[in-house]
């Protein structure tokens, strides 16, 4: 497993004070909070940050971590020392929700209480009920077309000696067609099993989308960047475009330009009500790589007295 340099993640010196660590955490948390940040890897950075802070803010855990030294060189495998854990006691299971890396868990144990983890998601939730909560990254096509997807969740279970260990559990879930990012699928009875204290809990799966090959998602609307040739934009054309319901012919009006947008009402995510699909035109220039193409460009230049810089006054 990979060694994690918590000081480096938080951007603090190894002798940083508690106050410095707290300040660093606050600053980075604001920058990378997944609900606020538009940074590309915000979710992963925020997760690392939460883990680093969990260790460094706690004097017991920090002392234990410091005992490991600087860790192996980058890329080298890390294994906890054999005498690890003797002499340290960690109080509580931690009060912070969130997933911890294998590295963290090998040092400080797994977190108790109900948590699942999607194949790309991170577990969160907790609380004392029998419900389980997970957040998964879903491919957009599952929402556009419906269908089944298998998720592997990590759920806590008690072993024979009463220790908490996490077990993998694979679920095949029917994805409701038209589900939107931020929505939740509720699977009744799929949380913790029933006990003498109460009935089985439910499993709640919060959905986020992976980036799609060509659609961008805006709520229930889809945005498709549509490359067109200059003559298609200028003269008008009918071009084939993908939509969630299948390919359609889209009429490009004459005199269109880069940035022109065409709305296909009701062709977005098939939610209730369905979203719209926007085609954003982007003019693609054919390369002038052979004599024929060069001649065509020259003919155009000769035929059209066109000054694209007319408003620059030069």
């Amino acid at each position: 497993m990979e060694f994690k340099d918590y000081y480096k993640i938080m951007g603090v010196a190894r002798d940083a004070t508690e106050a410095q660590i707290k300040t660093a955490y606050r600053k980075l948390a604001r920058k990378y909070h997944p609900d606020v940040s538009k940074e590309k890897d915000a979710e992963a950075r925020f997760k690392d940050l939460g883990e680093a802070y969990e260790v460094l803010k706690n004097p017991e855990k920090r002392a234990a971590y410091d005992q490991l030294g600087q860790g192996p060189r980058p890329g080298e495998q890390f294994r906890p020392p054999p005498d690890w854990g003797s002499g340290f006691e960690f109080s509580g299971a931690g009060d912070q929700d969130g997933a911890y890396s294998d590295f963290f868990e090998s040092l400080f144990g797994r977190q108790a209480r109900g948590r699942g983890r999607g194949p790309h998601g991170y577990p969160f939730g907790g609380g004392h009920s029998a419900d389980h909560h997970a957040r998964v990254l879903l491919d957009l096509d599952a929402s556009l077309h419906g269908g089944q997807r298998a998720f592997t969740l990590r759920v806590p279970a008690l072993d024979a000696e009463g220790h908490v260990e996490s077990k993998e559990r694979t679920l095949n879930v029917q994805i409701p067609k038209g589900i939107l990012a931020g929505q939740t699928i509720r699977l009744p009875g799929q949380g913790a099993p029933a006990t003498e204290h109460g009935p089985a809990g439910d499993l709640f799966i919060e959905i986020e989308f992976q980036p799609h090959r060509y659609y961008r998602v805006d709520g229930r609307d889809l945005i498709l960047t549509l490359p067109v040739a200059p003559w298609e934009a200028s003269l008008g054309a009918s071009v084939a475009i993908p939509t969630p319901g299948g390919a359609v012919q889209l009429k490009i009006p004459p005199g269109s330009h880069s940035g022109s947008k065409l709305r296909l009402r009701g062709r977005g995510i098939p939610a209730t009500p369905p979203g719209d699909l926007y085609a954003l035109l982007e003019i693609a220039l054919p390369p002038a790589t052979d004599d024929k193409a060069k001649a065509a460009y020259l003919a155009m230049a000769a035929a059209m007295p066109f000054n694209p810089r007319a408003n620059l006054e030069v």
């Binding site: 948390a29 609900d35 929505q183």
Partner: protein, 103 residues
Amino acid sequence: MTQSTLEALSGEIVEETTVLSIHEVSRICTVETSRIVELIDEGILAATLSEAGEWLLRGEALRRARIALRLQRDLEINLAGVALVLELLTEIEQLRRERLLGI
């Protein structure tokens, strides 16, 4: 996420439930009901009182509730700050959409 031979489980989309009781919202968000009442009192979540005097929320309030709770927890922002962040986030989303689509 591949096709699997396991039996497929079907569920409902919680946000499409027209009305959620405050108990359901707090259960799904895994917080005490009082935390949701705080969000309602601050005007962060819209809710109506039932005849029995119980707060009822629309399904779509769930996403907003979750973001508000995460901001409180992760950034230790107070309620007024959370309300402000949510308003600014909505505004940023609108601006982004305007810039992209001109609508």
